[in-house]
């Protein structure tokens, strides 16, 4: 009974607090005659955005501008998570390396990167990238058509041709074929015991199919090669220095944490497991793949999830170095429309959605690999 009263009181207090805040807000909005509602999303944004995954022009709406921001945030988060995982795993393994120099270097990396505020690191990376790259005219040209300069990395993209669309289809077919082949190979190994070089064959399928399509389609070679015109390169595709700075800044920062997560996961797997596997004659690769990693993962996955969430949320620091992420664009929007409540609500809602999505996926994965114990 007391518990019920207590709960009712608490929930009542929360509701009351909420009502009080809403009431004040409405009151204040009315008093200052500030407009509310999401109508502004359809108004013309009339500001430029440096990079976008979809077509965007200042005459587009605020809503579209916001979408550009969301996509940019997703882009950084997704690629960042992948890059951070790769770097973090490598560094984590390097810390355990028998090469003293490498192990020390890796722990130096972790100690430096984890103990300096990420915002500061972003500033440093941005400065390093912008200052160390050559100017447009003196762009570094490591491969034909690929240019590295202060404007970022420019790569050639093929000029539009129906074959390219077919190649995308072929790629998908290749992926599907690779999956089917993996299944088949597993069944065949179960049947005959002969393993099949699945990795190589999959690569072959995934890259070979589009290549074949390309050849069949008459091998169009017309490329939209970046070239200097006026101030900048025209043509090709770009990865901007801002994107690089935020991507690598965040990845390198988060990788410091992931490295520790990975290291502790691997250390948590008893050395006896490796010895047992090796003494059964399993090769070191198979030992890692079949014995150590599956066990390390269950230690690694939960803290890894938090790191992924942190990386995603830290991508909001992008506004400090000029990457047009969702916070940066929402900020400009708020500044121009004055609709801060809606703006902040949209920011928070988006991050919340992304975070919950990552959590759900990782929890599902974690459950799948959980150990059965007595």
């Amino acid at each position: 009974m007391r518990a019920v009263v207590f709960q009712v009181l608490i929930i009542g207090a929360v509701v009351l607090l909420g009502w009080w805040l809403v009431h004040n807000t409405l009151d204040n909005l009315a008093r200052r005659s500030i407009a509310t509602g999401f109508g502004f999303l359809e108004r013309e944004a009339s500001f430029g955005i440096g990079e976008s995954m979809i077509d965007y022009h200042p005459r587009d709406s605020y809503g579209r501008a916001f979408l550009v921001g969301v996509l940019n945030t997703l882009k950084v988060s997704v690629i960042g998570i992948i890059v951070a995982t790769v770097i973090g795993t490598l560094v984590g393994i390097a810390r355990l390396s028998s090469n003293w120099l490498l192990a020390k270097l890796a722990s130096l990396y972790v100690e430096v990167v984890r103990n300096v505020p990420p915002l500061l690191q972003l500033f440093v990376w941005y400065a390093v990238i912008t200052e160390s790259m050559p100017s447009v005219r003196e762009a570094f040209n490591p491969l034909p058509g690929v240019f590295l300069s202060q404007r970022g990395i420019k790569i050639p993209v093929p000029e539009s041709d129906p074959v390219w669309n077919w190649m995308i289809v072929a790629l998908l077919v290749g992926v599907a074929a690779a999956i089917a082949m993996t299944r088949w190979a597993r069944a065949r190994q179960a049947r005959t015991g002969q393993p099949f070089p699945v990795g190589l064959a999959s690569l072959g399928l995934i890259f070979g199919m589009p290549l074949l399509t390309w050849l069949v389609g008459g091998a169009p070679t017309a490329m939209d090669v970046p070239r200097v015109q006026g101030f900048n390169f025209v043509g090709g595709a770009t990865m901007s220095p801002e994107f690089f700075a935020i991507l690598f800044g965040l990845s390198i920062y988060t990788a410091g944490f992931i490295a520790e997560v990975v290291r502790s996961g691997i250390v948590a797997v008893n050395w006896g497991q490796t010895e047992a596997a090796r003494s059964l004659g399993l090769s070191s690769g198979n030992t890692l793949r079949l014995v150590v990693l599956p066990q390390a993962l269950r230690v690694i996955v939960p803290p890894l999830t938090s790191q992924y969430l942190n990386l995603t949320k830290n991508s909001s620091l992008a506004l400090a170095i000029g990457y047009p992420d969702l916070v940066s664009i929402a900020n400009t929007t708020i500044n121009q429309t004055g609709q801060s409540i809606e703006g902040v609500a949209m920011i928070m809602g988006t991050y919340l959605t992304i975070s919950l999505g990552i959590s759900l996926f990782m929890n599902w994965y974690n459950k799948r690999i959980a150990l059965v114990e007595r």
Binding site: N24, N115, P117, L120, S340, I347, Y351
Partner: protein
């Protein structure tokens, strides 16, 4: 006959071959034990050879000393301008705190460092040490605000730099700590109402970036409050920090709570201890001990995250460094500025992280008793 007793006497211990001990063995075993390690070693040495000289020449060889005039730095950018740091040192450390009174924040920093250092010692983990902390905080407030003991009053909008960073994190964590305990207990409560509120709070706060919470505190808080009521900026930032820290620490503590076997709860119930007594005397002491390492990790990240208050125009350490860079005379020396404050952050965080590692080992040893 002799083969059976293979060695009638004990064989002497021989010196190991040089492939086992000594510097050559060390180099062989630690740097060149496999071909790929050899390759790695060589590429790392090459990389260091490429990087270190340039770094050294900028940091030391070509650098301008601590008293070099700015014109000298402007004439030659190939070395660091350390006179920027000496010129702006007091501003970076103490912000806009009245110049002649800056011994007060300095003392504050030292008191905090002393208290924190003492707190690292397990012998001080006693209830009376809370009183020492309370006394320390009282002393610090007296020092920072003044208005007593003949100290002039300094309002908190003038605080900045390192003391602000430390105050934000220490006070934030101190207040968030009890909150986080309640939240963690709430999340594990079997009262659905309490549980729902706790879960919603924790997940909502953890799902959004701190920066957007700070942003809300700075831009939107006035809208939430009754007309005319304003809240001090420092307080707002502090509250945002507390809300955020509480959610994160609650999760760390929940981990500790989950590690307590069910039997402990039942034994406490069986003795007739009520809920709060059970928590206070039995469960929390054990759970918190387990949760200390993740808690210290949270402390570290919050210490770093104070740098985000720059978003709302408070001059923490990073803020003062950036403001120092806006002095027309000294614009442009941001490398020196960032390096300097990066070092300060690093020192604090490094000690905390080392301490947490040590503590984890120590507690594990104690638990295995």
């Amino acid at each position: 006959m002799t083969e059976n007793v293979q060695h009638a006497g004990s064989l002497p211990d021989e010196r190991p071959p040089i492939t086992v001990v000594g510097p050559i063995a060390w180099v062989r075993n630690n740097l060149f034990n496999t071909w790929y390690n050899a390759l790695l070693t060589i590429s790392i040495i090459w990389l260091l050879y490429k990087i270190i000289p340039g770094l050294l020449s900028w940091l030391v060889i070509n650098a301008h000393g601590f008293s070099a005039p700015v014109q000298e730095c402007r004439a030659d950018y190939s070395g660091a301008c350390w006179s920027f740091v000496s010129e702006k040192l007091r501003f970076i450390l103490f912000g806009t705190f009245p110049y002649d009174e800056q011994w007060r924040p300095l003392l504050t920093i030292m008191i905090f460092i002393g208290l924190l250092a003492a707190s690292c010692d397990k012998r001080f983990w006693k209830p009376w040490f809370l009183a020492v902390w309370a006394g320390g905080l009282a002393l610090v407030s007296a020092l920072m605000w003044g208005g007593v003991l003949g100290l002039t009053y300094v309002e908190n909008s003038l605080w900045g730099g390192l003391p602000l960073t430390i105050i934000l994190s220490v006070v934030g964590l101190a207040v968030a700590f009890p909150m986080s305990i309640l939240l963690a207990l709430g999340r594990r409560s079997n009262l659905p109402g309490i549980k729902a509120v706790s879960v919603a709070y924790i997940e909502l706060i953890r799902g959004v970036p701190l920066i957007s919470l700070l942003f809300m505190a700075s831009v939107m808080l006035p809208l939430f409050l009754p007309n005319g009521v304003t809240i001090d900026k420092l307080v707002r930032a502090q509250v945002a920090f507390i809300l955020f820290a509480a959610a994160y620490m609650a999760e760390a503590i929940r981990g500790g709570l989950q590690a307590i076997p069910k039997g402990q709860y039942e034994a406490a119930d069986g003795l007739g201890l009520g809920y709060w007594l059970k928590m206070r005397k039995i469960i929390l002491p054990q759970a918190l001990a387990i949760a200390i390492p993740p808690l210290v990790n949270t402390f570290i990240s919050f210490f770093k995250d104070t740098s985000l208050v720059i978003i709302i125009g408070l001059y923490d350490l990073l803020g003062t460094a950036k403001a120092a860079l806006t002095d027309p005379t000294w614009r442009g020396f941001y490398k020196e500025a960032y390096l300097f404050i990066g070092l300060i952050y690093w020192v604090f965080c490094f000690f905390m992280s080392k301490y947490s590692q040590w503590l984890e080992k120590d507690l594990n040893r104690a638990r295995r008793r």
